[in-house]
Structure formats: structure tokens, C-alpha cells
């Protein structure tokens, strides 16, 4: 695939190859953002899915496509509309032939098809993971989990909020303490698999989980809107 990145309104895709460990490479990635007027580079701390060496990161951004900045500096963007793929901007020289433009477009469409296929696969894995979680917590709690992205878990001693995609918050009075702990190679797994694993481990081996977890700070319970709802379960 050609270098470049693009977005749908649900998922950020990039063709950049990601290497390294989940905690270093996948959580601190710098991406080029293309807007109608300018280009900016943004560093994200995030979790995501790596599929076929490509990093997929869920976001709500509605930006459509980004070429590497050197391409955008060299050529003007030309927008084309496709009935299935929507508006697509490609960067080609002003004197490009019709054939070259078509070739470029076909390449872009194949990228979109490829990314959609990846998204379908990752969505299917997440559905399966949520089915399994539902076996443990029931339909009502699953609904709250999907609304808040958090699951309340009662450990052997403490109470926790497990966040979708991993990491936990320990409830202590009116405060929550953030801990970073997750599945090894978590980016390989659907986010809810992380939640299932942490739920099972906190219920059975709370002290071992806390030994492995890295404390990241604390905040007020009241400052996190979704917590009271999730914690009511």
C-alpha cells in the first residue's frame, strides 16, 4: 500500500507501519491531519488495533484523507466523488493524464476497500467479545458498559472500574486511582477482551493485578461523568 492515512467518521486508519511494543509505539503516534485549509501534525496517546502491521485507531474525527505532507506540498488536491466511497481527494500534478488520474483513483479505492474489510473483521471480533462479556454481566449491564465504556468490578478487597480497551480505576472513597494494566499485546485483541480478562483477574487475583499495574495518578470520582452510572451496576 502507498504511504498515507485516511479517516472515516468512526475509525482512523493509517498505512504507516507500526513496530515496537504496545506501550511505546501504539500509544504515542504522530499523525498528519489534513483539513481543507491546512495540515497539522498531532500526537495521540491512544490504544488501537494493529492489523497486518497497520495501526487502526478509533476516533470521531470526520477528516477524510491525508497524504504525506511532501505530496501535498508538491501537488494540488483534486476532489472526486464516488457513489460508494464518497468524496476522495487525490494529489496529482496539473498535467496528469486522464489515465494517470484514473490509476491514482483506483489505487485509492482499493485502499478504502481494504480498510473497510479490516474494520469489518475487527468489528466482528468485538461483537464476539461482547457476547462473551454478556454471558458474565447480562444484557442490562452490557448496555451500560456500551454507554459508558466502563465496567464496574468488585475485587476481593477493592472496587474497580475497568475501562474499555484496558486500564483500571480503583475506587477509593470519592477518588479514583488510575492504573495502567492490560493484556500483553492488547492491540491484537478486541477492546472488550481486555475488559473480560481484567474482570476475571480482579475478581480472582486482585493483588497480582495490582502488583503488575503501574499507578498513573488519581482524580475525583465526581469529575468523571460516566463513573457513577457504571458504578451503580
Amino acid at each position: 500500500m502507498a504511504p498515507g492515512s485516511y479517516y472515516s467518521n468512526e475509525t482512523y486508519y493509517t498505512t504507516q507501519t507500526v513496530t515496537g511494543s504496545a506501550t511505546t509505539a501504539y500509544t504515542n503516534c504522530t499523525f498528519d491531519f489534513a483539513t481543507s485549509a491546512s495540515t497539522s501534525s498531532v500526537t495521540y496517546w491512544t490504544t488501537g488495533t494493529v492489523y497486518d502491521s497497520k495501526f487502526i485507531y478509533a476516533c470521531d474525527t470526520d477528516i477524510v484523507y491525508s497524504e504525506p505532507s511532501w505530496v501535498k506540498n508538491m501537488y494540488n488536491g483534486r476532489k472526486f466523488h464516488h457513489p460508494e466511497y464518497g468524496d476522495v481527494v487525490i494529489y496529482v500534478s496539473d498535467d496528469a493524464t486522464e489515465e494517470e488520474i484514473q490509476e491514482h483513483l483506483e489505487h485509492r479505492y482499493s485502499e478504502i476497500r481494504y480498510q473497510r474489510e479490516i474494520k469489518k473483521l475487527t468489528d466482528m471480533a468485538e461483537i464476539k467479545a461482547q457476547d462473551l462479556l454478556k454471558d458474565f454481566i447480562g444484557e442490562n449491564e452490557l448496555k451500560i458498559y456500551n454507554e459508558t465504556g466502563r465496567l464496574y468490578v468488585k475485587g476481593e478487597k477493592g472496587e474497580y472500574i475497568v475501562r474499555k480497551g484496558g486500564t483500571i480505576q480503583k475506587i477509593e472513597g470519592k477518588n479514583v486511582i488510575d492504573f495502567c494494566v492490560h493484556l500483553k499485546d492488547r492491540s491484537k485483541y478486541p477492546p472488550t477482551d481486555n475488559v473480560i480478562a481484567l474482570k476475571l483477574l480482579l475478581e480472582e487475583e486482585e493483588s497480582n493485578v495490582l502488583k503488575l499495574a503501574n499507578r498513573r495518578g488519581s482524580s475525583s470520582f465526581d469529575s468523571i461523568d460516566e463513573l457513577p452510572l457504571a458504578a451503580c451496576m
Partner: protein, 75 residues
């Protein structure tokens, strides 16, 4: 029937066996041991599925449902 759910990239991978059938049970046991060697942890789940109970370190043919989860790390 016994069932093993191994958390995986596809959500989970299921393996079923009839504990009365030696060959099926053997295949399931081998898979269980393979995953434990890789650092996975096994949990026995009761019939209702709602309450999880007891870590297990050995394959139990009559355990009902077993969930295998990958190792965790601090981030």
C-alpha cells in the same frame, strides 16, 4: 459437553469436547496445556455464566466452560 473459550484476535476461539470421548478430551487437554505454557490463565465458569469462579491450573474435563485469557502486563 465441555467448552473452552480462548480469548483471541477473533474475539474468542471455541473448543468443545465430550468428556466421555477420550480422543476429543485429549485434544482439548493438549490445547489447554499449550495455552497455559504460553502464559494464559484459565477460569472455570459456572453454568449460569454470570458468576466466574476459581482459577484452574489443570485441565478438568468436566469443568463445564473454561475461559482462557492471555497474560497481562503493566502499561
Amino acid at each position: 459437553m465441555g467448552e473452552m473459550k480462548i480469548l483471541s484476535e477473533e474475539g474468542d476461539t471455541k473448543i468443545s469436547w465430550n468428556p466421555e470421548k477420550e480422543k476429543e478430551t485429549e485434544i482439548a487437554r493438549d490445547k489447554f496445556n499449550e495455552m497455559i505454557k504460553k502464559g494464559f490463565k484459565a477460569f472455570r465458569v459456572d453454568d449460569s455464566g454470570k458468576k466466574t469462579n476459581r482459577r484452574i491450573d489443570e485441565f478438568l474435563p468436566y469443568a463445564g466452560t473454561i475461559i482462557l485469557i492471555p497474560p497481562i502486563v503493566g502499561g
